[in-house]
Symmetry: C2
Subunit: 198 residues, 2 copies
């Protein structure tokens, strides 16, 4: 019984191709069902494989979820373009984060419960491992503003430098939804710029 129509025509995936499919399936489950209802069984079924294959790669549910998140984020990096002014750069950055990260961030907080406890890590660690070694996202923006002489370097503490991103993130965490354009402008114009402009 080697040829029974389309059923036996399936090929057996391996290595990276399989792993990608597993992580995509995990991500889909995560977004559709949420972490609590996220089951290894469902991921295996959706990926057209069996649980054993998943357990060979990840110890359990939190690690699989985390891997899925990192995988998805890595495929969709945020680029910060030069708009010609600090204000424009920061607004562009926040808008982009709004478009490309809100769903992920929402999943992330609303989810990953126990993972932190089990591993002793925190949201901050996860944020770090997601942004990779590329350093704080604000770096490029700030560097250009300093070149242009737009900001008072003496006021630029690390905390103030990250203020727009931190406030944006706080907003997303609190509401679990995209941040309104007015809020972005408010953060930039009434908080960040007054603190750093020369």
């Amino acid at each position: 019984m080697s040829l029974s129509g389309q059923d036996d025509a399936r090929t057996r995936r391996r290595g990276p191709a399989l792993e990608g499919a597993l992580l995509d399936a995990a991500w889909a489950e995560l977004t559709e069902r949420g972490y609590e209802s996220f089951t290894i069984d469902a991921v295996a079924t959706r990926a057209g494989t069996s649980r054993a294959v998943l357990y060979r790669r990840w110890p359990g549910k939190p690690e699989l979820a985390r891997a899925a998140i990192v995988h998805v984020v890595a495929q969709d990096p945020i680029e910060v373009k030069d708009t010609g002014s600090l204000r424009g750069d920061v607004i562009a950055l926040l808008r982009q984060a709004n478009e490309r990260r809100v769903r992920i961030a929402t999943q992330l907080v609303v989810s990953l419960a126990d993972y932190y406890r089990a591993t002793g890590t925190s949201l901050a660690d996860l944020r770090e491992s997601i942004s990779g070694g590329q350093g704080p996202i604000m770096d490029g923006v700030i560097a250009r503003a300093l070149e242009r002489g737009e900001i008072d370097a003496s006021r630029l503490t690390p905390r103030i430098r990250n203020l727009p991103v931190d406030l944006f993130r706080h907003e997303v965490l609190m509401t679990h939804s995209a941040v309104p354009e007015e809020t972005i402008l408010e953060i930039v114009d009434t908080i960040f710029l007054p603190l750093v402009l020369a």
Copy 2:
């Protein structure tokens, strides 16, 4: 066999007394085990009762967890005292939150995963239901500062008014631990006060 030593000497709790014991047990489980390992079984055992009693009151695990959190927070309100200056008031407020809310907040974020999805609520809603009808915690602090003429009322947008608390919360959410004293001072002295002082 009505008298077998101490075993039958137990009394059967009812109403509020029982409910309090259930919520205390739930809270203890939550803090000791984390939300993911939080089981109705364990709560029932710890409270010396059976699951049926819990299911009679709450539909399931997320609702019980939430009820336990609200219960604990309600027993330990934050009071904001008058220290004589805006700076002192805000610092005192953050310090108190640091002492009395960090464990709870940590539980809270690291936990309650699916509840939001299931009910369509968010962290912001939970924050609201926890702070009760008493309004933003910064209100009293701001009112006194306005009386003293310490702040420029025109700069006082709602967002800026809540900035210290929001940044504090963000810090806790990110690190899952208490906020260092220096960070509290930094938030107040390099961000909040420069934005509002006349």
